[in-house]
């Protein structure tokens, strides 16, 4: 799915939800029918992932393994929800989390003069971009608590991931080439969409009938599969644990 398509999908879904709740809102004026929220916090990557690539170097196959670590990215989200029945809400949230982290590179670089004599090269690649722009569509259930408003939620997530991959490796080496050291790696940024899921809980406290503050903890996850001529087939785990806090405006 392209980036353009999932944005259009999100807008369409929210519009459809808004239309659907209008009759319900008319039934109860004591409870808010619509809530708009904005949060900031952090997204911790769902898990590490390993990028494995192969290149033809020195008439043999060079393998490059890039270990991408757990990422914690600043996360922002905005969204809206509507109440469809007494304690059931539906909502859509647009979340952004961009990060640049380091990745550990381990490569087996073929010897230029001998067969079956690869040199192990290790290095670190900095500023590896991992940018997520996700749309969470949830069904929420509001717990009947008096002190705070608590909603548990779950639903599909439409992930859009921009990821840097290693597309080439250069090493420093000299005769007799028994060892080589990492020089630099070239990267290529790919973008890919995928559908996953999310589940979470939102806790808020009303400061006035229309204004509340709260926090959101959500776990989301999808395997995003890339397939590119220069980096091969790679699977990256998108999402993770998102912890944010912010404001809610209720109508």
């Amino acid at each position: 799915m392209s980036r353009f398509n999932w944005q259009m999908s999100c807008a369409a879904a929210f519009a459809a939800l808004s239309a659907a709740v209008t009759p319900v809102a008319a039934q109860s004026h004591a409870q808010p029918r619509v809530e708009i929220s904005a949060n900031a916090g952090a997204l911790t990557g769902a898990s590490t992932f390993t990028e494995t690539e192969s290149f033809t170097v020195n008439a043999e196959t060079e393998t490059v393994t890039v270990d991408h670590g757990v990422k914690t990215a600043p996360a922002f989200n905005v969204g809206g929800a509507v109440r469809v029945v007494q304690q059931v809400w539906v909502g859509v949230q647009f979340a952004v989390a961009n990060t640049k982290s380091s990745a550990a590179i381990t490569a087996l670089v073929p010897h230029p003069l001998q067969f079956n004599a690869p040199r192990t090269v290790t290095g670190t690649l900095d500023d590896v971009a991992h940018n997520e722009q996700n749309v969470h569509v949830d069904v929420m259930y509001a717990l009947p608590l008096a002190a705070v408003d608590v909603r548990v939620m779950a639903g599909p997530t439409f992930f859009n991931l921009q990821q840097d991959f290693v597309s080439g490796l250069t090493v420093k080496e000299t005769y007799p080439f028994d060892t080589a050291t990492f020089d630099k790696a070239t990267t290529k940024q790919l973008t890919k969409s995928a559908v996953g899921f999310n589940a979470g809980v939102d806790v808020s406290r009303a400061l006035s009938p229309r204004f509340a503050v709260g926090g959101l903890v959500r776990y989301s996850r999808a395997d995003v599969k890339f397939d590119d001529a220069s980096v091969g087939k790679q699977t990256v785990k998108a999402g993770g644990v998102e912890v944010t806090g912010g404001v809610r405006i209720r109508f």
Binding site: N58, A59, P112, L113, Q114, F115, Y175, P176, F177
Partner: protein
């Protein structure tokens, strides 16, 4: 791998035209010395007493201006040691083959090897001018003197204690001529090329990495990964192109073999290029030696299908070859198979190592000293008896030359330096095989056979482990390669320069003797005094020092260091050649140098020293 015998004759004659002419009525006109080598002293000093004695002699000769230091260099293998070579001179003129090499540690001498000539008395005023010598040489060679050089005066000792003032110059294709400075006669011709003979099937199907360079959109056999740089040129079979490369020093990138895709299917080129590279790597890894001269002199291979390298591979030294850096020339067999096996490449590159290491220390490669022994007064061939005093050698041009006799006995000789040169090349050709290939029999397996992967030319294969198992063909059948000094093949010497009473130069006649007994007549030549035929004496010692075993001739057993320690023996032989060997070495001198190298590297009581000492004893070299 083997010399082309016809090309390597010390005197350029048509061997088929040689006639032995018994002349019963001809009287012996002069007595020859009883001990042909009494005028020559071989210095082998590795003990304190011997070193003191040799040092005293050297000091006297330096004081008298008879020895001059020509090279001093640091020992690259043992810190704090120096290697110094002194050249013998007589009234300022170099004495061919007269030099000593000292291994020093500070002021102390560790070892001395060399050869010095005694009682030189000769008029050093040439009767002919250098320009006349040039004309004589160029007319005889039908070629120009290489690089416009002027013939230089040298004093050439003969095996019988006489000396000749000669002009020396090298013409195109690395053939050196000696002209008697008194008479203008050409008295000696030495082919400086290291020819070898082999047959092959070309590529054996094994994958090879080719270090190439992309030039103008095409991949070329120009290896820039190895510090020396290795270029493999293809003459396309053109003799003129080969001549341009060897004698004109001119080869360009357009002469390199090329491929549009960097995928190489021409096994001839692949083997030449990659095997030279692998040999370079072997010398670097095993011996910390970079290329031909240890200093990364540029290296060139030439693949040439023309007649100049038919059934041959050879090394030609500086100043010939592209850039004047020498070259390894790989031919094809008459059946079209490339002569480019890995051990052949190792053999040829070792010729370069030998030449440049000797040259850097002593001023030249191996000099062709003829070491002599006395043979019988006559021999019988095909029912005819040929007494030494009355037999002459007749050449195709009608000229005749007498044999060299001593009290009526044939004086026999062989080229120790040539045999050592070939033997060490076989040793390191074999070592390269073991470095890369698993031990075993068959293609691409490491063994002690030379050129065995080139099928179809079985008689050219030499065996280091069992020399006698391989046959040297001659006119009466075959004889096994020698595994002991007592089986060394010596050749009857004839008077090539001067007169029977005052010979100034000798040549090898194609009449072989073993242990003083007539053995064969060779229509095919003399192998330049048995340079390949006798090479197995030293190379068999190498085998025994590693693997151990019993020498079939002496019956003596050797406790080898074992295959897992072969690198130790390789290092010993390599040090002996590159650091200690004098350019005038005899077999015993070489054996002493090898043992000294073992002492230097592993200590006097080490298993390595014991192994090489036992091995040299087993083959009769000490």
């Amino acid at each position: 791998m083997r010399n082309s015998r016809l090309l390597l004759e010390t005197v350029a004659i048509s061997a088929a035209a040689i006639l032995l002419l018994p002349q019963p009525g001809r009287a012996q006109v002069a007595a020859a010395p009883d001990a042909p080598a009494s005028h020559r002293t071989t210095l082998i000093a590795t003990t304190q007493a011997a070193i003191a004695e040799s040092n005293a002699r050297i000091a006297r000769m330096v004081q008298a201006g008879e020895l001059a230091s020509v090279r001093v260099q640091d020992d690259p293998q043992i810190a704090g040691r120096q290697l110094e070579t002194l050249q013998q001179v007589y009234k300022g003129i170099p004495v061919e083959g007269g030099s000593v090499t000292l291994q020093k540690s500070g002021a102390a001498t560790i070892s001395t090897f060399g050869t010095l000539y005694d009682t030189i008395s000769i008029d050093t005023t040439p009767a002919i001018a250098p320009v006349d010598a040039s004309r004589i040489i160029e007319r005889a060679a039908n070629a120009f003197i290489a690089f416009g050089a002027t013939p230089a005066l040298v004093i050439v000792p003969s095996p019988v204690g006489t000396y000749a003032l000669t002009y020396k110059a090298t013409v195109a294709n690395a053939i050196t001529y000696y002209v008697d400075a008194a008479t203008g006669d050409v008295v000696r011709i030495v082919d400086e090329k290291n020819y070898d003979t082999g047959l092959g099937t070309g590529t054996l199907g094994e994958p090879k990495k080719m270090a190439t360079t992309l030039i103008n959109g095409s991949y070329k056999t120009k290896d820039t990964l190895r510090p020396a740089g290795i270029s493999t040129y293809d003459t396309g079979g053109s003799s003129a192109v080969l001549d341009r490369m060897l004698n004109g020093n001119n080869a360009t990138d357009s002469d390199l073999a090329s491929s549009s895709s960097n995928t190489w299917t021409n096994g001839y080129v692949v083997d030449a290029h990659s095997n030279t590279g692998m040999t370079y790597d072997y010398f670097f890894r095993q011996h910390n030696w970079s290329g031909l001269d240890g200093k990364n002199r540029a290296m060139s291979d030439i693949v040439h299908t023309g007649p100049e390298a038919r059934n041959n591979a050879f090394f030609i030294s500086s100043p010939f070859g592209p850039g004047g850096n020498g070259a390894m020339v790989y031919g094809r067999t008459t059946g079209g198979a490339p002569v480019t096996a890995l051990d052949v490449a190792g053999h040829e590159l070792m010729h370069g190592v030998t030449f440049y290491s000797l040259s850097s220390r002593t001023g030249s490669g191996f000099v062709n000293i003829v070491y002599t022994v006395l043979g019988p007064t006559s021999f019988t061939f095909n029912g005819t008896t040929f007494p030494c005093d009355t037999t002459v050698l007749s050449f195709a041009d009608g000229s005749q030359r007498p044999f060299l006799c001593s009290n009526g006995r044939y004086v026999l000789g062989s080229s120790h330096g040539g045999a050592l040169n070939e033997g060490f090349s076989d040793i390191f050709g074999t070592s390269v095989e073991f470095f890369y290939q698993p031990p075993g029999n068959g293609p691409l397996k490491a063994d002690y056979l030379m050129a065995e992967d080139i099928s179809g030319f079985d008689f050219a294969v030499r065996s280091l482990d069992n020399p006698a198992s391989r046959a040297i063909p001659h006119d009466n059948g075959t004889i096994g390669y020698p595994d002991h000094l007592s089986k060394m093949i010596n050749y009857a010497l004839y008077v090539a320069g001067g007169t029977k009473t005052n010979p100034t130069s000798v040549g090898f006649a194609p009449i072989g003797f073993v242990n003083g007994n007539f053995l064969f007549f060779l229509n095919s030549g003399t192998d330049s005094g048995g340079v390949h035929d006798n090479s197995t004496i030293i190379s068999h010692a190498f085998y025994l020092a590693i693997e151990g075993g019993r020498n079939a001739t002496s019956g003596l057993s050797v406790t080898g260091v074992g295959p897992s320690n072969r690198a130790q023996i390789e290092k010993v032989f390599f040090r002996a050649m590159t650091q200690l060997m004098p350019n005038n070495a005899s077999f015993p001198t070489a054996a002493a140098a090898v043992i000294q190298a073992a002492v230097d590297l592993y200590g006097p009581g080490s298993a390595v020293t014991q192994a090489v000492t036992q091995a040299m004893t087993a083959v009769g070299l000490r």
